[in-house]
């Protein structure tokens, strides 16, 4: 039971790290960004490619997380920025195209075979008689630390307040003379770096393969909707809740774990239909 809870929290942490950027892009710009899944996958690959060369896991994590920033910048500048104010369907189609193109590039560089990584910490500890991998606990700690940092950024900095205000009413913020778009771009870049971090942290738990981002994006979508659009705290709660649901249902019957997530998504949509 303890290991089920621990795995649920680990999944929750990874879901949170991935979803937070998706949540802000969706909440601020009303863009469903499939390219987010690509960034996540690229993060995993950069880790895979750099770790043997760098040799020091935290440095490789940093390289992968920061390495996607230029890519995110290009995607923002040439795709996302042209989608402001467009219909949600168009944002899906355009960013999905980016996702597919990126996928082909990844396959061209690394092939389609799943690439296995080892546990970077490779130590366990015993908690209440259950043996737990230190790495998975570290993931939970990183997720919690990020949630706290994001909260501090939003509550304490002027940029954070502009983002909160922009989530609620973009026009009002512009009417005050603030170029709110610049802050949304910044949020997009940070969110993308976090997506890559999510991919990096997830890679040692699963395998690195071109489609790893696809399934995660669907889950991330569920997290953002269940947590409430534009509600970053809701994203946090929903990520850990759904991570736990996946862990518990997966324990009884593997394939049921995603079904359970989408059942919860369906119920949540019935209770609070979204209108975008």
């Amino acid at each position: 039971m303890i290991s089920v809870i621990a795995y649920g929290l680990t999944l929750g942490g990874i879901l949170y790290i991935i979803s937070i950027g998706f949540s802000f892009t969706f909440g601020t710009m009303k863009i469903v960004n499939y390219a987010h899944a690509l960034i996540f996958t690229i993060g995993g690959y950069i880790l895979y490619a750099t770790l043997p060369r760098i040799g020091f896991y935290p440095a490789a994590v940093l390289a992968a997380t920061l390495g996607v920033i230029p890519i995110a910048f290009i995607i923002e500048r040439f795709v996302i920025r042209n989608l402001y104010g467009e219909s949600v369907d168009l944002t899906i189609i355009a960013t999905y195209a980016v996702f597919l193109i990126g996928l082909d590039v990844l396959k061209w560089i690394w092939g389609s075979n799943p690439l296995q990584m080892s546990d970077p910490i490779n130590k366990t500890f015993t908690f209440l008689g259950t043996e737990l991998p230190v790495y998975r606990m570290a993931v939970i700690v990183i997720a919690l630390a990020l949630a706290i940092l994001i909260e501090i950024f939003l509550q304490r900095s002027m940029a954070g307040k502009i983002v909160i205000a922009g989530l609620e009413d973009k026009e009002t913020v512009r009417g005050l003379g603030i170029s709110v778009q610049r802050y949304f771009t910044m949020v997009f870049i940070i969110g993308s770096a976090l997506a890559a971090l999510g991919g990096v942290l997830y890679a040692p738990i699963t395998v690195v393969e071109p489609y790893m981002g696809f399934q995660i994006l669907m889950l991330s979508f569920a997290v953002v909707i269940v947590g409430g659009l534009g509600n970053w705290r809701g994203t946090f709660v929903a990520a850990f809740f759904l991570g736990m649901v996946m862990s518990v249902t997966g324990r009884w019957w593997g394939p049921a774990s995603e079904v359970a997530v989408f059942a919860i998504l369906a119920v949540s949509l019935l209770i609070h239909p979204i209108d975008i």
């Binding site: 307040k161 609620e168 009413d169 026009e171 913020v173 512009r174 009417g175 005050l176 003379g177 603030i178």
Partner: protein, 231 residues
């Protein structure tokens, strides 16, 4: 003229909401725009302030500069501020943070901005630390007007400031606005004709997307008695 609008057309898709409107506001003037719901008042205000596209032949000059279809944040920074209809404060931030937000683009110190609003509307001081979503309609409106004054704009466009407010509160709002009169020019959408006649230097009446009448209230001395037909 501080604000000079000519041939303003606005389209929503194929539907034309504003037809060749002309509006002028002189420095220091308090001008009003009246008309029924759906006449196109908000559309005109939004087009002037850059939130809604103005048609290609539209001419919008503010302070001698062509601002037609400029970005709303640039227009705001150039000294033309639009206070939206529906009293849109940022509900999730405190009253104080709402004020800080307005101070930021003008490099006004947050303290000075708060002091300025407390000066205009002293009762706000008690509410500085609550979320702006907890304010009443009148309090919100006064916060919005105060907030729009930060950075010393030359012109305020205010859209239905008294909509949905009780009579006593309407008086409060207009007391503040009349105190500002002369220091900052205003173009106000207002349905309350008594107030309009009392305070207006100039009145524009609109119907179905067109400006039907322009009254210079000092010259046409209270002759705006036929304004009722537009409401």
């Amino acid at each position: 003229m501080l604000l000079e609008v000519e041939h303003l057309d606005v389209f929503y898709g194929k539907a034309q909401a504003v037809h060749s409107a002309a509006i002028g506001v002189k420095p220091g003037e308090m001008a009003f725009l009246v008309g029924r719901n759906g006449a196109g008042k908000t559309t005109i205000m939004r087009a002037i302030s850059g939130f809604t596209r103005a048609g290609a032949d539209s001419r919008i000059h503010f302070n001698g500069v062509d601002i037609a279809n400029h970005r709303p944040e640039e227009i705001a920074r150039s000294g033309l501020r639009y206070v939206f209809q529906d009293k849109r404060v940022i509900t999730k931030l405190t009253v104080r943070e709402n004020i800080h937000l307005a101070a930021y683009p003008f490099h006004v110190s947050p303290k000075a901005a708060v002091a300025k609003i407390c000066d205009i509307y002293p009762r706000i001081e008690k509410f500085l630390n609550i979320k702006a979503g907890g304010l009443s309609g009148g309090q919100r409106q006064l916060l919005l007007i105060g907030r729009a004054l930060i950075g010393n704009p030359k012109l305020l466009l205010i859209d239905e400031p008294t909509e949905g407010l009780a009579a006593g509160i309407i008086e409060d709002v207009f007391k503040v606005l009349s105190q500002l009169k002369g220091d900052v020019s205003m173009l106000i959408v207002e349905q309350n004709l008594d107030l309009v006649r009392r305070l207006a230097d100039r009145i524009y009446a609109m119907k179905e997307g067109r400006i039907m009448m322009e009254l210079d209230n000092s010259a046409d001395s209270r002759s705006g008695s036929n304004l009722e037909q537009f409401l």
